[in-house]
Symmetry: C2
């Protein structure tokens, strides 16, 4: 069984997610856990890399041109780029990974990556496709934090070439970084569910802000509007990519949401108090059941 010690961890992309994962490895494995190891990172943002070295988050920084040299030294690699760039990177650097390496990504859509597997996989590396379900409305390394994963979900979309011992190692690693629930599923189910829990929510939050008459609305806020729209402070290029990459699933969920919205709206329009009260009671029970699952898992 592979242990956390004496490993070199590599990051392709040291933004919010890469930076947070690197900080969590540094704080929770290499510092607190007492493991020996190195963290290397590559990014296009030289200033962020310099700060990361200065603050001892990473041991060595690499320019994009030196990615191959970095990859050849890494036992565990996290590709923390946007989805399309992730696929490009994996294809371009297929021959650069160290033999025996575990390679993972963080992409919020999985179908496109899994379709590219024939151009990505190598017999002597293990690509564990993953989605750490955490983030922030604030982007970039400067907003990264080792705490954003605490208590969060990590979803793995495995394939037939994954080695069980590497999956076990990876799940232990995720647990050590703070994730509380690690779920294995297939890429199609992932993209179907994520279109609902994540992408639809971002679409709704964006539409709600779009429909606001003015920015002074918060004088009338009681917390609901603020909670519903915090995620509308959105990383526009990233979410454009995610929405379009998972378009079919997302559109189906938008349609289902519109039907539910229309059902409730019709009851309000016709002043159907009894129907509305029954509907809201059913919604309450359904959401409360979700909270119970949330708490007990």
């Amino acid at each position: 069984m592979r242990v956390f010690s004496n490993l070199t961890y590599g990051f392709a992309g040291l933004g919010l997610m890469g930076g947070s994962l690197a900080k969590a490895i540094r704080a929770k494995l290499l510092n607190s856990h007492g493991a020996e190891g190195k963290i290397l990172a590559m990014d296009t943002n030289a200033a962020a890399l310099a700060v990361a070295v200065e603050r001892d988050v990473i041991d060595e920084a690499f320019e994009p041109e030196a990615a191959a040299a970095m990859l050849r030294r890494c036992d565990v690699v996290f590709i923390c780029l946007y989805p399309e760039k992730t696929i490009e990177f994996l294809k371009k650097h297929r021959s650069d990974f160290k033999s025996g390496a575990i390679v993972s990504d963080i992409s919020g859509v999985k179908t496109s990556i899994m379709m590219s597997l024939p151009d990505i996989l190598r017999e002597d590396i293990d690509f564990i496709c993953g989605h750490p379900m955490a983030g922030s409305e604030k982007e970039g390394f400067y907003h990264s934090s080792e705490y954003i994963f605490d208590g969060r979900n990590y979803i793995l979309t495995l394939h037939s070439e994954n080695k069980p011992e590497n999956v076990v190692f990876f799940k232990r690693l995720a647990g050590a970084l703070g994730f509380s629930r690690i779920t294995e599923t297939n890429y199609a189910l992932h993209d179907h569910k994520i279109a609902f829990t994540s992408q639809l929510c971002h679409v709704i939050a964006s539409a709600l802000v779009d429909s606001a008459e003015d920015a002074e609305i918060t004088a009338f806020g009681g917390g609901s509007f603020e909670d519903l729209t915090r995620i509308a402070m959105i990383n526009a290029p990233l979410w454009t990519e995610l929405f379009l990459a998972n378009r079919t699933e997302l559109l189906a969920h938008i349609d289902a949401f519109k039907l539910s919205l229309e059902k409730i709206t019709a009851m309000i329009r016709s002043a159907d108090g009894d129907g509305l009260c029954r509907e809201l009671e059913a919604v309450r029970l359904k959401r409360t059941a979700m909270s119970t699952i949330e708490l007990t898992k």
Copy 2:
């Protein structure tokens, strides 16, 4: 100028809101502030009243039949009932209030109450119509807390009969209980804005939960779905009443939201990446401007 001391505070309704206001008066005025005073409360729930007395939240409890006897002793009265019950109560007990009393409500819709003013007002009492913008998805006295008002908005919908010195007193009282921003507006603007920031958000959250395929969805949650739908653990009878009482305004906001949703959906459907990215960028800027207002006020 009226001071907080030597006043008798009365509550008609000691649920989540009444209980929280009573606890805040006890903790922040009568205990910490050193003011002398009494808190009386009336509710249909005898068990909750008994607990409130036992825990020293209130000094005396009254059954609904004894409401008049309680009101005759109170200098400041909070009617913490559902909107329709609030109007009924104010009409029924019009002659029971102590001369000189300040009476306020907590109703989330104001037009219907303001329309009833001729049947409510008395020359020697001051009815200050207010909406403390706080709450919880958990109902009842047992979930009440003196902290739920900290940093929140309090909206007052004043009328021509309000005495300036009483309004000043009431705003100082609200500030002492923890509210950070007290806004004066008229009832029509209140109901227009609240239909957006509060009622529309509850409709959307309810529709989103309604459209969920199953309750196991939270294994795929990254926080967005949870944040958007916490308010869907809704008090069904109360929100049915609020939705219907403010139906015209709410339906207008639902229509505007649907247009924004359709605009974004159309871009996703046609895979218009440039348009989508521009739209999301605009949304981000708009929501960020709201946060700045939120922080600086």
